[in-house]
């Protein structure tokens, strides 16, 4: 239930920000379309812990801040490799997931792909196949560069559900 309340408030805020008109007619249109969207997603059964992880919001913000710093460093690295200051040495490695539930796997593989210089290309049940542009990036990933900063709370509520 709290998922639906959270989704409804987010959608309403989005409507208000995107429309820019605040007369009663437009706001009632917004309420109608938010209710329609909620009804559709209720029928599709797509709103749960996985698609809308509110139990993670606090730790995810901290994760994003660290991740954006790492993305910045990786960007500088890849730019130097493109203009030829550093060599291009493609590597293919298989790294295990830090956590075993589906949501953590998705977040981890997405973070790996979002970082330039490493891209996940295949998901196995226990690990992910990663293509990196350099040997340094490959060793850093194998040593747990991203896995160390992974939010520890990610598994708890999911394991409790199972």
């Amino acid at each position: 239930m709290k998922h639906y309340i959270s989704v409804a408030s987010l959608l309403m805020i989005l409507w208000l920000l995107l429309s820019g008109h605040y007369n009663p007619l437009m706001i009632s249109f917004g309420v109608v379309s938010v209710c329609f969207t909620l009804w559709l997603s209720y029928r599709m059964r797509i709103i749960d812990d996985e698609s809308h992880p509110i139990h993670l919001s606090g730790s995810l913000i901290k994760y994003w801040i660290v991740l954006s710093y790492k993305i910045f460093l990786a960007n500088v690295d890849v730019v130097l490799r493109i203009i030829g200051v550093r060599p291009v040495e493609p590597q293919l490695i298989r790294i295990p997931f830090p956590k075993q539930d589906d949501l953590s796997k998705v977040i981890y593989a997405n973070s790996v792909t979002l970082t330039p210089g490493s891209a996940s290309i295949e998901i196995y049940p226990d690990s992910v196949l990663v293509h990196t542009i350099s040997k340094e990036g490959a060793t850093a990933l194998l040593e747990g560069d991203l896995a160390d900063i992974f939010p520890a709370k990610a598994t708890q509520s999911n394991e409790a559900q199972q």
Binding site: L18, R94, N110, T113, P116
Partner: protein
């Protein structure tokens, strides 16, 4: 005034990064490496350009829209590049310069099916 110059610097850096990404699309040796070049233009370049433009807009709805554009780009780009690289891998495109002990093409059969 300072904000103006800050936004000019950010936008110029972003445009520079986008051109570098375009050059990287031609300099990189194979498909999987080009994926990383596109990753640069998807993350830092779009961030710098949109962030610099939001300084020009000031506090208004335009800033929120720029932030939303950036958020959509950030959420969709890893999904798009994962589905690209995954279908290239399943199709059988081998990356160049891969070590001998790397997972061979035989491993790509999915275990669970």
């Amino acid at each position: 005034m300072i904000l103006d110059w800050l936004s000019y610097t950010l936008i110029t850096l972003g445009a520079l990064l986008s051109v570098i990404g375009g050059i990287g699309l031609h300099r990189m040796p194979d498909f999987y490496c080009r994926l990383h070049a596109v990753g640069v233009t998807d993350t830092l370049c779009s961030f710098l350009i949109l962030f610099g433009l939001s300084f020009q807009a000031g506090f208004s709805l335009a800033t929120v829209k720029l932030f939303l554009i950036f958020a959509f780009l950030l959420f969709t780009s890893p999904t798009a590049s994962f589905s690209l690289s995954h279908s290239a891998w399943k199709w059988g495109l081998t990356p160049i310069g891969v070590r001998e002990d790397a997972p061979s093409m035989k491993i790509k059969v999915r275990e669970e099916s």
